[in-house]
Amino acid sequence: MPPLLVAERLSRSYRSPVSLGDLLRLRFTREVVPALVEATFSMEPGELVGLVGSNGSGKSTLLRVAAGLLLPTSGRLAVAGHAPYAADPAGRRAVGAVFSDSRSFFWRLTGRENLRFFATLHGMAGPERARRVDEVLEAVGLVDAAHRRVMAYSTGMRQRLAIARALVHRPRLLLLDEVTEGLDREFQPKLLALFDRLRVDEGVALLYATHRVDELAGRAARVVALAKGAPARVLAYPAWAAEGTP
């Protein structure tokens, strides 16, 4: 069986904007800032790969390329054989993503209406969509709040809703960026148990960016370790944990 995700020498850099001061000094060249350097790794169905590194090391950049929101500068990434950033939507169909941004809902709609909207954009309809929306609301513990407008949700509830949105179309790959951030202590272990069930029972692969070592222990066999301006390293979890790096 081919790998679910393949990244080959995936790099992404940004160009700094030209400031007014630069223009006045007739300096038009823009500084190139490497955000992700030569990441090469693959993921199998049902696997959890940790994505680790200090702030600004390129974790979110890698997740955004995998979600189809960012083009790589060089190299390639494919999910289920398709580049998620291509016009062809096949790659994005296989991906669900949770980014650390709780603004991304229609605040005057209820949680259930938001999920229904995004499920429709994923091509779901009718009773199947309604059933699936109920399932993911149940999974993240938002059934009782489903009829309330998102504007009345707490930060943690919006994060739960973001997780539900990432799950609603049954993705084969979940991209998770600091997913337990803002969640209460009671729900965190339930969420990790949910992810374990998805991996084991449904074969969903998880690319899991975190600063919390305890969330990876016993779950991640490998980590992709990123550092500013340096090539990405793929390490077995014990080797990485032994390094004691963040």
Partner: protein
């Protein structure tokens, strides 16, 4: 189609959450109609000569057609960039573009409600004017009017798509819609014919899309001109649409690709 309906449903739910919205919109159309009606009473005793040239005996009928089209023009010019800007600021654009939905499809679907609502306002404009104030549409040639209307909307939509692309790139509201809208309102024969403009200006104004549209629509609605009669206006609008629409779609695609290349979809 299901995605279009999803956007329509979402926008309807948002609008319904602002309870006075519908009432204020309908009241707004009513106020516009009344204003035109009182304005037209100034000319009731001796209607301007230009009114008769468009097949009407009354300035009110002349102005109502212009105002109905103006309403649609503002929606077509402005709603694409406005809706995209809303999605940018809400942060939902990134979440939507992470789905399999096509970016251009999202742009069109996000304005479906605005177009539907504007269509309803147009019906209220023309229907209200017909029923309450004047025998406006008894001679109307509907196929001719529909062709001119659709072609005019296609031209305005193309310009609106350019504005949407610019909004995506600069991540701020663009004044381009106000510029086009202002020029079309000033020179497009909305409330007065281009003949009253100074001749050098009128010579240019005759060929702008708004003038072609107001002229064609008035002739079709008020004097029953057939499609053959409004041929020059329809052909002019079709040429504008054929030239602008493909360019606008390409520009919008390029703008989305540039956002992905810059990594700035989530910025606003």
């Amino acid at each position: 189609m299901s995605k279009l309906l999803a956007f329509l449903r979402k926008d309807l739910l948002v609008v319904l959450s602002y309870r006075l919205y519908f009432v204020s919109e309908i009241v707004g159309v009513g106020v516009s109609l009344l204003t035109l009606w009182f304005l037209s009473r100034m000319f009731a005793a001796s209607p301007p000569a230009f009114v008769a040239r468009y097949g009407s005996a009354d300035y009110f009928a002349f102005a109502v057609v212009g105002m109905a089209l103006l309403d649609f023009m503002w929606v077509a010019l402005g709603s694409f960039s406005t809706r995209l800007r809303e999605l940018q600021v809400l942060g939902t654009l990134e979440a939507i573009l992470a789905t399999p939905a096509s970016a251009e499809g999202v742009v069109f679907a996000s304005t479906a409600y605005a177009f539907l609502w504007s269509s309803l306002r147009t019906v209220v404009y023309l229907g209200g004017a017909q029923v309450v104030f004047a025998d406006l549409l008894s001679k109307a040639d509907w196929p001719a009017a529909l062709v001119v209307w659709v072609l005019a909307i296609a031209v305005f939509t193309a310009l609106g798509l350019f504005a949407a692309g610019i909004t995506l790139l600069i991540k701020a509201p663009t004044p381009i819609t106000s510029w086009f809208g202002g020029v079309f309102f000033l020179l497009g024969g909305v409330l007065y014919p281009v003949e009253v403009l100074p001749e050098p200006v009128a010579a240019v104004a005759r060929w702008i899309p708004m003038t072609l549209a107001t002229t064609g629509l008035r002739r079709a609605f008020l004097s029953g001109a057939t499609l053959a009669d409004v041929g020059p206006q329809a052909v002019g609008l079709a040429l504008y649409a054929a030239g602008l629409f493909p360019l606008a779609i390409l520009f919008l695609r390029w703008a989305f690709r540039r956002l992905r290349a810059e990594g700035s979809i989530g910025l606003h």
